[in-house]
């Protein structure tokens, strides 16, 4: 399959501190790719660099176009949906408003209603809470809201930053099942960043392992999962 996202020589900085060193990886169109690594390996920064939320150099080519240097709000218009760490809930808005705000870039306002309905088929629980202030949702519901909001953007690529963080195992299983469905039914490619490597490798079909801002190895998820050496040295389980 052709690469939807190609990253090459990616460098990212927080002030003068360099965090990513010539990072390179690819995401297959329609695939699920995961970035693994310990705390501070640069996983979150990589997602932020793709969306130009940190100071970034190098090449990020999305569907053939180099998007490095474009403002965050323009990169979103290429249909790249970023579900940030901490979920980015608009706490004082209602659940419905949280979803409708994501349709802001969609010109055809009539289709927004259809989009909402489609999103609710994945997250029926959100339908019941449409009028509720989003800050009062539970952690799991807020994570679902964040993914649902990303889905409202009609994304081609979804960037997910630790969707399992702080959630009960049962909820995590449910969310990962929904992610699989979104990938299969909507054809949305996914770039997944996870602390929980076992979980991520189950979902993903390709994996990159990061260490201190560099890619140290990459292979098909099934291979990484069964390679005891990699698991022990990089993934710690």
């Amino acid at each position: 399959m052709a690469a939807l996202l190609q990253v090459d020589g990616l460098r990212a900085f927080y002030g003068k501190t360099q965090v990513l060193y010539d990072l390179g990886f690819e995401i297959a169109d329609g695939g699920i790719t995961t970035l693994l690594g310990a705390n501070g390996a640069g996983k979150t920064t990589t997602l932020r660099a793709i969306c130009n939320m940190v100071q970034t150099e190098g090449m990020v080519r999305f569907a053939g176009e180099n998007i490095v240097g474009q403002p965050t709000e323009e990169i979103v218009r290429h249909r790249i949906a970023h579900v940030p760490e901490g979920r980015g809930t608009f706490t004082s808005l209602t659940v419905g408003e949280n979803l409708r705000i994501a349709a802001y870039t969609i010109k055809d306002k009539a289709s927004v209603k259809n989009e909402l309905e489609r999103v609710f088929t994945y997250f029926p629980r959100l339908r019941e809470r449409v009028q509720q202030q989003a800050g009062t949702l539970s952690g799991g519901e807020q994570q679902m809201l964040a993914i649902a909001r990303a889905l409202m953007l009609k994304p081609r690529l979804m960037l997910l930053d630790e969707p399992s963080f702080g959630l009960a195992p049962l909820i995590v299983v449910e969310i990962f099942r929904i992610l699989r469905r979104i990938n299969e039914e909507e054809g949305v490619s996914i770039l997944l960043v996870e602390q929980n490597a076992a979980l991520a490798l189950d979902l993903a079909d390709y994996a990159y392992v990061l260490e201190t801002g560099r890619v140290v190895m990459s292979d098909r998820a099934a291979v990484v999962k069964n390679d005891e050496n990699i698991r022990k040295s990089y993934l710690g389980y």
Binding site: T72, S92, I101, A102, Y104, T136, G166
Partner: protein
């Protein structure tokens, strides 16, 4: 009794003015965490623009709409040209810029239109309007016009996608960018709307306080008090706070007058109403620091 109603009515009319300026302050505060000290002077400048337009022969309401429109454009321009470059500047630099803006607006108005106090017309007909003896036509008109403008704004923020985008940008700018909202423009738009609402207040109050470059000084003070008493981060609270402060100051003066009439002892009168009203505001804030309607957003982690 009639005097009480009169005072109440004029309090509501003043309160409507405070509500507009307080709302302008809050709109900028919620999106930038800055209190725009120049808000009052910007409104004063807008009022001069409307006066100038009327002087050129335009009808009051045409001048009103044009002046509000021009204020909107000026507000957007000030944000884009003066505050945008200060985006990452420390708070104190921004405060200095606000004070500079205040001084510039004030002296420019003085230089262009002179410091002489001018009379400002009222658009409301004298006889067929108002409730005789209780509320004057201009006061009633002020309340109606401001309520109309405030409800327009409310509908805009509540029901339009652009209004929603502005609220989202104010609440969580980074996430707003991630759903494609052009946050920088939302801030500029917020400045434009604030300037427009402020200009409504200026044009409406000018008939009462007369037009001069310092006309908004006291009003800005009341507006700060209104915004604080309503909860500085709460637009609806600021509006209610405006009406509370407006009625409160008149009630203070009324009580003072009544006491003097009954006992012959002068305690408080019109001269002290600002002081007493502000003392009451401070008292309220010590009891409820977030303001009367300062909502604590429920947040679960």
């Amino acid at each position: 009794m009639e005097q009480l109603l009169e005072q109440l009515a004029s309090g509501l009319a003043n309160g409507a003015i405070y509500a507009c300026v307080a709302l302008a302050l809050v709109m900028i505060y919620v999106s930038t965490d800055h209190l725009n000290f120049a808000q009052g002077e910007m409104a004063m400048f807008s009022t001069y623009i409307s006066w100038q337009l009327m002087n050129w022969g335009l009808n009051f309401w045409v001048a009103f709409v044009l002046a509000v429109g021009i204020s909107f454009v000026l507000g957007v321009t000030i944000e884009r040209m003066i505050l945008r470059p200060l985006h990452k500047a420390p708070v104190l630099s921004v405060v200095v810029v606000f004070i500079g803006l205040l001084a510039i607006c004030n002296s420019m108005a003085g230089a262009i239109w002179s410091y002489l106090i001018k009379e400002f017309p009222t658009p409301f007909p004298k006889s067929t309007f108002g409730i005789a003896g209780v509320i004057g036509p201009h006061q009633l008109g002020v309340v109606l016009v401001t309520l109309f403008v405030l409800s327009l704004l409310f509908m805009f923020f509540r029901y339009t996608p652009l209004g929603l985008a502005m609220r989202a940008a104010a609440q969580n700018p980074q996430m707003a960018r991630l759903v494609g909202v052009r946050v920088d423009w939302m801030l500029a738009l917020g400045w434009g709307l604030a300037a427009a609402v402020g200009s409504v207040a200026g044009i409406m109050v000018a008939h009462i306080v007369y037009l001069d470059p310092n006309m908004m000084g006291g009003i800005l003070l009341y507006a700060f008090a209104s915004a604080l008493i309503g909860g500085i981060g709460n637009p609806a609270g600021a509006v209610v706070g405006g009406f509370i402060v407006g009625v409160l100051e008149n009630m203070v003066a009324y009580t003072g007058n009544m006491i003097e009439k009954e006992t012959g002892v002068y305690i408080i009168g019109n001269g002290e109403k600002l002081t007493v009203a502000l003392i009451i505001v401070i008292f309220v804030l010590t009891v409820k620091p977030a303001g009367l309607f300062g909502r604590v957003v429920v947040k679960r982690v």
